[in-house]
Amino acid sequence: MTRSTWPNRDKNEVTTLGDLGNPEKFNTPIALQNYSTTTLKARLEDMIRIRVVEEVIADMVRAGDVKCPAHLTIGQEATAVGIAANLRKTDRAFGCHRSHGHYLAMGGSVQGIMDEVLGKATGCSKGMGGSMHLFAQDIGFYGSVPIVAGTVPLAVGAGLAAKKDGKGDIGIAFFGDGACEEGVVHESLNMAATLDIPVLFVVENNLFSSHMDIHLRQPTDRVARFAEANHVESVTVDGNDLVAVIEESGRLIESMRRDPRPAFVEAITYRWRGHVGPNEDIDVGLRRSMDELKAWKGRDPVNRLALSMFERGDFTQSDLDAMTAAVRAEVEDARKKAYDAPWPEEKTLLEAVYA
């Protein structure tokens, strides 16, 4: 705020996140609107599945069994699940380094990811990719890879292809606030807007890019401003409120299907684990403290949804416990099978290079 010898600079301040960036706010149960308990239970289970899969992967990393870098999304589950709730198998989604949640939310197999993180031939990428390279094209998950922002223009291309196909499908790019610092994101927004390409840019703004919080990297913390600058319709939403994410992204996706053009969802959230690896620590976060993490846990997307459902009265703590236990059993079973799964054959190394 000391830069204000420039009189118009403060105009920009309206674009900050405000209370959405303050973990003491938005930490109460969420509005369930008229969503049925059946629907909400299914989405809650999706979120729990992501969390449990990642807790198990974290254990496997600690045990030294998973060696590939694993960027966990625990704490951010509502964004992936909320967006996926509006997608169909013929849409074309692309992820990034932190995409276990996107893959699972869209229906990616638990066995496929368990096998993949161990490098087994039965993994979702045949053991050739590990945690950072996931694939499930049959459900619309076209791939996640770790070059930051690398898949954003690919999703634009997928949207372009969808538009040519003319069936109302869309491209989706999942990326982070850090990725918005890459030039190609801006080229992608501008081009998608100019060519009316139906691509949904989904930014999980978790306020960090590895060790750097957003204030060290950008002049203000609300990245939807980049969409506004390119005339792409956008919304900034509480990314830990499942219903809000479903509603806000659903509204945009529905109009994209009818009238092809890009849209942008900025979901405010927070990762609980380190940038990479299993631990809930401050790892490489220069200005991230355990106190801050604790405050953000008050905005737990799973807990907030469950509490709201308890309040409404048609879902109880013991229902939640049973749901969690069932998911855990499913994931543990997949873990066991993954250890017994076969390794890739040596010839895959050269055979997979070309079609």
Partner: protein, 347 residues
């Protein structure tokens, strides 16, 4: 001048009585930065992760604290802008150093490096030179996979106007960085995390002229010439030591500077040994290994050869993740030994 720093046994002091200091390759890079920031006010550093030990290991510890965050700038996730800005500042009297904690991410900066920095001098009549050093770190293994494992030296060594250096020893890790930054041309400095723990006794730092630096011997012998750069020079040296135990004496030549390349030492050596094995940490097709062999083939009399020249490279495939494939992907000392022994007729 071309004699290896490694073969010189430190006496404990340099002529001016300053003590040698034992440091590893990683710390040696850091010492270069300290020396440069200390002595040259026009030096500054920009890039991702430079405030975090997690990104760049021991190579930049506390530089921001010692020299201030305006001279050691951690950046947004913007490879193209940081590198382009460094080229610009380099044209305006500064000596910027750009850090790419993984050479794979540096690919996003290719325009600034290849179209701009490398060509600036020539296309404007030699009147201006972007004095910029771009550091790309090779960081592979650990099941990181295709986009986090590459060794792209051959790509960049192909570009006229872009100097490319690859230190194999702690001494060179420091001195080639100093030489790169003091050089008026754009330089790509490539270091390899697999080398960070190798230790050496170093004399105090002093200015180094990059134009004086070329390939060096790390080991000497008359039976076979093994050529490497960076980590592959280490493999060659390890293999040479093992071969020596069984009576085979190898010349090991560490290239150090890939562009512009000075092949004289390699040619002299192969004339003596008649056998050339190149260990290249990159891919095979259109790579460094092929370049070294081609240079010898063009230059040397055909009667010199006692065996067909050979190269060891990565298979022409992206890096896999699965450990069973990673294990067969990277050459090791045994790969070099097997190839050398085959060329020596099984000796």
């Amino acid at each position: 001048m071309h004699k290896s720093a490694l073969s010189v046994k430190p006496s404990g002091t340099t002529p001016d009585a300053a003590p040698f200091k034992r440091v590893n390759y990683g710390v040696a890079i850091c010492e270069a930065f300290e020396y440069l920031l200390e002595n040259y006010p026009e030096v500054f550093i920009i890039g991702q992760g430079v405030w975090s030990p997690w990104y760049v290991g021991s190579t930049m510890t506390d530089l921001d604290k010692k020299f201030g965050k305006d001279r050691v700038i951690d950046s947004p996730v913007s490879e193209a802008a940081t590198t382009g800005a460094a080229v610009g500042a380099g044209l305006c009297g500064y000596k910027p150093i750009v850090i790419h904690p993984r050479i794979d991410f540096m690919i996003l900066a290719c325009d600034a490096m290849v179209n701009q920095a490398a060509k600036w001098s020539h296309m404007l009549g030699g009147q201006a030179h972007p004095n910029v050093t771009i550091r790309g770190v090779v960081n592979r293994g650990g099941e990181q996979g295709a986009q986090h494992s590459q060794a792209l030296h051959s790509w960049f060594a192909h570009i006229p106007g872009l100097r490319v250096v690859m230190p194999a020893t702690a001494r060179d890790a420091r001195d080639l960085m100093i030489a790169s930054v003091l050089c008026d041309d754009p330089v790509l400095y490539i270091d390899d995390r697999w080398l960070y723990d190798f230790e050496e006794d170093l004399p105090p730092a002093k200015p180094v002229d990059l134009r004086d630096i070329g390939p060096q011997y790390l080991h000497e012998g008359n039976d076979i010439t093994i050529v490497g750069a960076s980590y592959s020079s280490r493999l060659a040296l390890d293999a040479a030591k093992t071969l020596a135990a069984s009576g085979v004496q190898a010349d090991v030549i560490d290239l150090r500077v890939l562009n512009p390349i000075d092949p004289t030492l390699v040619h002299e050596s192969v004339k003596r040994t008649g056998r050339l094995l190149v260990v290249d940490g990159g891919w095979r097709t259109c790579g460094l290994g092929g370049e070294i062999i081609a240079g010898c083939a063009e230059t040397l009399d055909p009667t010199v050869w006692k065996a067909k020249p050979q190269r060891i490279t990565l298979p022409d495939a992206p890096a896999p993740t699965s450990r069973v494939l990673e294990d067969i992907y990277y050459p090791d000392e045994q790969t070099v030994l097997d190839a050398a022994r085959a060329m020596l007729g099984g000796r």
